[in-house]
């Protein structure tokens, strides 16, 4: 669905590249996470792929369209949810979506259905200037689905949303992906990426450091240990057991059978820990 080869981009049109030799592919129906700290080049790459920035060097194609000679028809197939909410503040939520639906050549979704889907039901006739930041963000997200995109670009789709709404948004993404929609997710939220993505790319200073699935990364970089907190003779004890060594496995089984377990955690590495390990950088 997306093919990128040797992508470079410089905002100052010199050798000071925001994106350097970026190459990757995204298969149809995949959720691909593009992870990195602020200023890493995530949005620049996404900007090029969505035609918002001019392709300077390299090759890229999206949904079968060459980004070098971008065709406006491509936008009938793609949806884009921006990190910064960008809806008309002098128009109502419904008017916003109705307006955008008329700009596409393909069948579009019912604005009210989308408004309800993102939890804004009953607010359709309120001017978005009166919306909270989170509500605007949800409407921006809803708008990106208006043309039933087969390629969906999501830039920080859950930023600024409360956990319940963020969970709903994640469900909507999963649901659409199950229907075959390819998702290019740009985020610095490793939990979202871990939960949603089939594969992730770590990008730092405009360079991709690693591309793999979160599961493989965890296996590769995590420790095969379990930490157990249990009660013995009225005291709380904490021990760590290997999940590979037979002796530790037997001991763990015995504790589970005989003792009162308070907490039990695998020592699997988080994506954030892996990111820091691989890139030597944090995500902020």
């Amino acid at each position: 669905m997306i093919k990128v080869e040797g992508l470079y981009y410089s905002y100052s049109n010199d050798d000071n590249f925001a994106v350097k030799d970026v190459s990757f592919e995204v298969a149809e129906g995949e959720i691909f996470g593009f992870l990195g700290p602020s200023g890493a080049g995530k949005s620049t790459t996404q900007g090029i792929l969505t035609g918002l920035l001019q392709l300077q060097k390299g090759n890229a194609s999206v949904a079968g369209y060459d980004i070098k000679n971008i065709s406006r028809k491509m936008f009938n197939k793609i949806g884009m949810s921006f990190e910064q909410s960008n809806v008309y503040s002098k128009m109502t939520a419904k008017e916003n979506l109705s307006f955008y639906s008329k700009l596409f050549d393909v069948e579009t979704r019912d604005p009210i259905e989308l408004i309800n889907l993102v939890g804004l039901g009953g607010k359709e006739n309120i001017k978005t200037g009166e919306f909270s930041k989170g509500m605007k963000h949800r409407l921006t997200f809803a708008r990106s689905m208006i043309n039933n995109p087969s390629m969906w670009f999501l830039d920080e789709p859950t930023t600024g949303l409360d956990p319940a709404i963020a969970a709903d948004i994640k469900d909507i993404i999963k649901e659409h992906n199950n229907k075959g929609v390819t998702v290019f997710l740009t985020t610095h939220n490793m939990f979202i990426a871990d939960e949603l993505c089939d594969r992730v790319a770590f990008i730092v200073d405009g360079v991709i450091k690693l591309i793999d699935s979160p599961k493989i990364l965890k296996l590769q970089y995590g420790k095969k240990l379990v930490e157990v907190e249990y009660v013995q003779d009225g005291n709380v004890k904490k021990e760590t057991f290997s999940t590979i060594m037979q002796k530790d496995k037997d001991l763990l089984n015995q504790i589970i059978a005989d003792k009162e377990i308070l907490t039990m955690h695998t020592k699997e590495a988080t994506l954030e820990e892996i990111f820091i390990k691989v890139t030597g950088r944090g995500l902020v």
Partner: protein, 333 residues
Amino acid sequence: MLKRIWTIFIRDLTVNMREFMTLYMIIIPLVLAVGINFLSPSINDTSVNLALIENENPEQAAYFDDFANVELFSDEQKVEDRVMSRDSVAGILPKDNGYYIMTQGNEPESVLEYAKLLNVLYEADVQLEDARSEIIEFGRTVPPLKKMLVNMLLLLISMLAGMLIAMNILEEKVDQTVSAINVTPTSRSAFILGKSLTGMAVALFSSIACLLITGFYNVNLGQAALVVFSSTILSLLIGFIQGLNSDDVMEAAGSVKLMFLPMAGSIAGYEFVTGNWQIFFYWSPFYWAYKANDMILSKSGTWPQLILFIGIILAICGAVYALLAPRIARKLQ
């Protein structure tokens, strides 16, 4: 493409009709047109008003009534009060064995001369039967003042259209919605045309409405629309660039307001500068638009002349477009 241009146009128009400032820009030319009707006289409304003392000389009053609007008052003080009011009234009052003419001092010379003449004719006992008259037409079918005010109003409308565009572009900029439009099949030219259509439609509608309100329904409205169309193009270009360059409404309005200077200069140049010096205003599209409008309003021009003026306006706008287009495209990205 046409569907998208129309969609953008309807969106802008809907929002403009809801906002006070943009609605004001659309409505104010119509209010000014009504104001022009009140303030400027029609060509037939040129009668001289005379104030006399009632019963002082009924024969004289009856004589004057054949040639002017006569108002009668009970005493000299009341006549004086009437003369001191805002409009042009001459008082004719008895003094010694004759009459004198009382004026406020700001009456047109013609009113004073007419009052003097009437008084002399009465004293010389000249009757209508003794008069031989001939109507001489100077080719003026509308009062020059009214024509000038309406012409200025037409240029003002094109300026307001530019301001309207600046406001609409600014809205897109503040709400950051241009990037959302850029990820739809809407091309940049469709976006620009859709935005421009709002300004152009408002300019054309307001201009034609103002011509009708001010009584110019006999002029060639098609010619007038062509001049408005061509002169509005420049305002739209300026509106686009100022909207993109500004960060708030006041800044955008202030920037577009700068265009009033060349506009006012062009009008002053055309009206007050002698022929040899008018060459210094040829660079201004407002000069040519004012000239073309003047021709249309006085019904004195020909199509070749009009096409020449419009051609000059479009050529100047083309040069401005060549200068601004790259900046507009860059800013819209």
